[in-house]
């Protein structure tokens, strides 16, 4: 016993707990090296993407693909996302990324080992042929979920570490490579998060350059890294990874998708977070003000769906001084897959509601595959009617076909509306360069998912059910898939910013209508009701109202009239 003590004498106790045998006398040196390491790791991350993309060693174990598939299929239960048909499941090729620099000229991966279970057997040297891997400073385990995946995580993080410090002269700090069976997370999730974003960007860049081999390897990495994240980042990364994979393997989702299911998803999105409600309430306020003093009104709705917008408008009209006008509604919707006349059903329900509150109501529904198929004569505008046209998240879809938006705006002009209310996503996802679109949409949807996390989170008693949240996420995930994976006429999620829309409307002969302070107050009050209401911001922008999450505006409501 005495001899044991003598051996362990001087070994620092705290490190000993973690399994490192470091003498206390060496502590100063150790601390210095830790500092050095942190410094260089910090500076590497600012070096940009190209370094990572060109020097990263990528592993392609066969198990990882099934893991990625299970993650994706867990989140996308739809038939067209049937992962069994995805070819990247069967691939088990060994991918070597060779790069120009001599740093990793001998880089080889250990592809035949089973990453899923027994990574302990990988000797450190096989992964790091040249550089001495500095084991990162011991850190407390950040999240319990990562503990379950420590074997899988280690080589990834070490590989990144090894490569990120490849250019630097750090030496071995600790003598403990991967052989240990400790489940210590070597790098905390924040760094993984940064790596995740970098990998996504690198993959998009590879796709842009049509370097599909590299892109393929990178996208698998993304799936791996995404697991280490929690919450919004994980979900966003998974959706983007899937979209990228679809683009790489040319497995495009079928278009058009089942409108009934889309409606269902949108209903859940309506309930979970305030974006649609904001859109409806602000548009309604503009229409209400435009209808002041008019006795016969006609609303044409390009985005009929379940008709959730109209009960509130009918109520406001019913209570206005002077009583309600006679109200006519024309709804436009896509053809439904089953034989039910969905538009008529919605119209009937709205008619019942209008009857309950004593508003004279008339309804007509038009089925149209695209808004460009409509013409002004169909609407049968009557003498003395005041017309309002409403479009919530519909106009951007027309940008997929050349000439469509101009035609639709021309039709709207012929209807001579008193007001045209438009709500659109505030982002530019319609650029010609894929990488720019990708970056923009990554930021946009990350913010959107972040805001979703706050809805229903925070309290132990969930305000919003998990099912609602998941459905909302699927709703957004489809949009992500469309922006990233599709091209040409299939890519319908062609969002544009308010500035771009202003130019379009201006050149089509429309002038802006300022949304008043009533709309602003109502919107602010509405947002205050939502959990996480602190994060939402209503802004006024030259008469248009914009809703954002923290510093990022996400949707914009604008109103127009013929000029």
């Amino acid at each position: 016993m005495w001899s044991c003590e003598a051996e362990d004498a001087g070994v620092d106790e705290l490190f000993a707990v973690l399994g490192y045998k470091v003498k206390s006398s060496d502590m100063a040196e150790v601390a210095q090296k830790i500092e050095q390491l942190e410094e260089v790791m910090g500076s590497v991350q600012q070096d940009g993407l190209s370094q990572l993309a060109s020097e990263t060693v990528h592993y392609n174990p066969s198990d990882l693909s099934s893991w990625l598939e299970s993650m994706i299929s867990g989140l996308n239960p739809m038939p067209e996302f049937d992962s069994s048909s995805d070819p990247f499941l069967e691939s088990s090729t060994i991918t070597t990324i060779d790069n120009g620099s001599s740093v990793n000229s001998r880089a080889q991966m250990v592809a035949d080992s089973d990453f899923g279970s027994d990574l302990i057997s990988i000797p450190g040297k096989a992964i790091y042929p040249r550089t001495q891997p500095p084991a990162p400073p011991p850190q407390p385990q950040p999240q319990p979920q990562q503990q379950q995946q420590p074997p899988a995580k280690k080589p990834k993080t070490l590989s990144y570490l090894g490569n990120s410090v490849a250019n630097l002269q750090s030496e071995r700090v600790f003598a403990r490579p991967v052989e240990s069976t400790r489940s210590v997370v070597l790098v905390d999730s924040q760094e993984n998060g940064i790596r995740l974003v970098h990998t996504l960007m690198a993959c998009a860049e590879a796709v842009q350059q049509e370097n599909f081999k590299l892109a393929e390897a990178l996208v698998k990495n993304v799936g791996f890294l995404a697991v280490s994240q929690a919450g919004a980042m994980r979900k966003v990364a998974t959706y983007f990874a899937e979209a990228l994979a679809r683009r790489i393997y040319r497995l495009y989702p079928t278009n058009p998708q089942d409108p009934a299911f889309t409606d269902l998803l949108q209903m859940h999105f309506y309930e979970t977070c305030p974006y649609l409600k904001f859109a409806h309430f602000t548009a309604n306020q503009a229409i209400l003000e435009a209808f002041a003093g008019k006795n016969r009104v006609h609303v044409i709705d390009f985005s009929m769906k379940q008709g959730m917008q109209w009960p509130a408008l009918l109520q406001a009209l019913a209570l206005r001084p002077g009583g309600p006008p006679s109200f006519r509604l024309t709804g436009i919707g896509p053809p439904s897959n089953d034989n039910t006349d969905h538009l008529q059903e919605v119209g009937w329900k709205l008619a019942k509601f209008a009857e309950t509150i004593n508003v004279e109501f008339e309804y007509r529904g038009f089925v149209a595959t695209s808004l460009a198929d409509l013409n002004a004569a169909m609407f049968d505008i009557r003498e003395g009617e005041t017309v309002a046209v409403n479009s919530i998240f519909e106009l951007h879809q027309l940008l997929a076909r050349p000439g469509a938006i101009e035609k639709v705006l021309q039709v709207v002009r012929e209807l001579k509306p008193e007001i045209l209310t438009v709500v659109e996503q505030e982002a530019n996802h319609n650029g010609n360069v894929f990488l720019e679109r990708f970056t923009e949409s990554l930021h946009y949807y990350s913010t959107l998912f972040d805001s979703l996390e706050s809805c229903g989170a925070g309290n132990c008693d969930a305000l919003v059910s998990d099912q609602d949240k998941v459905m909302s996420e699927v709703y957004l995930g489809r949009q992500i898939c469309n922006v990233v994976a599709c091209e040409g006429v299939d890519r319908i999620e062609r969002h544009e910013t308010l500035t771009q829309w202003r130019v379009r409307f201006g050149s089509a002969g429309f002038g802006p209508v300022h949304l008043g302070s009533n709309a602003y107050k109502q919107a602010s009050m509405l947002l205050a009701l939502f959990a996480g209401g602190d994060g939402y911001r209503v802004e006024e922008n030259n008469g248009c109202l914009m809703l954002g999450w923290h510093t990022r505006t996400l949707i914009a409501t604008s109103a127009w009239k013929l000029s």
């Binding site: 406001a316 001084p321 009583g323 509150i357 809805c455 009701l529 939502f530």
Partner: protein, 165 residues
Amino acid sequence: MAHELQQNERREEIEKRAKFCINDNMDLLIEILKRLDDRSLGVAACVCRLWCALTRNDSLWEHLCFRHLSPQPGGVRTMVAALGGYRRLYMVCVKPVMTRLRLGKVRWGSGSEVERRVWSRHEVELSLSLFCVDYYESVLLGGGRLGGETSPPSSLMILCKAVNV
């Protein structure tokens, strides 16, 4: 002798007083109940069947919703009655809106001062709009849910519980 007379008088007085029962004077009772808050109304409903029936009277709840707003916007009564009544309006919209918006502005210490605040026109409009949406969703859309979910979704779920108290 005088002492006895006094005692008799007092006894008669007491007997007369004992014959007065609040339940015989409904107008008075309703006037009193009108001044209660929602929780007290709930408690009052547990007293006896008469009181229970009285508290179900919608005019009490109308008073509760709009007592601080005058004049009441015209036509609201018929609309609210058609959509389920003031009691429902209060439980589903008014109370959560009031609580939620107040918590955002007022410190915890104010406690029972919650109802003293006067409604603004905007809050009334917003509550009514949300009430309509709720009616439309639950009554009209509740039957034919796509996908057949077990629990009817409600866009007012966000109002169900107080947040970040």
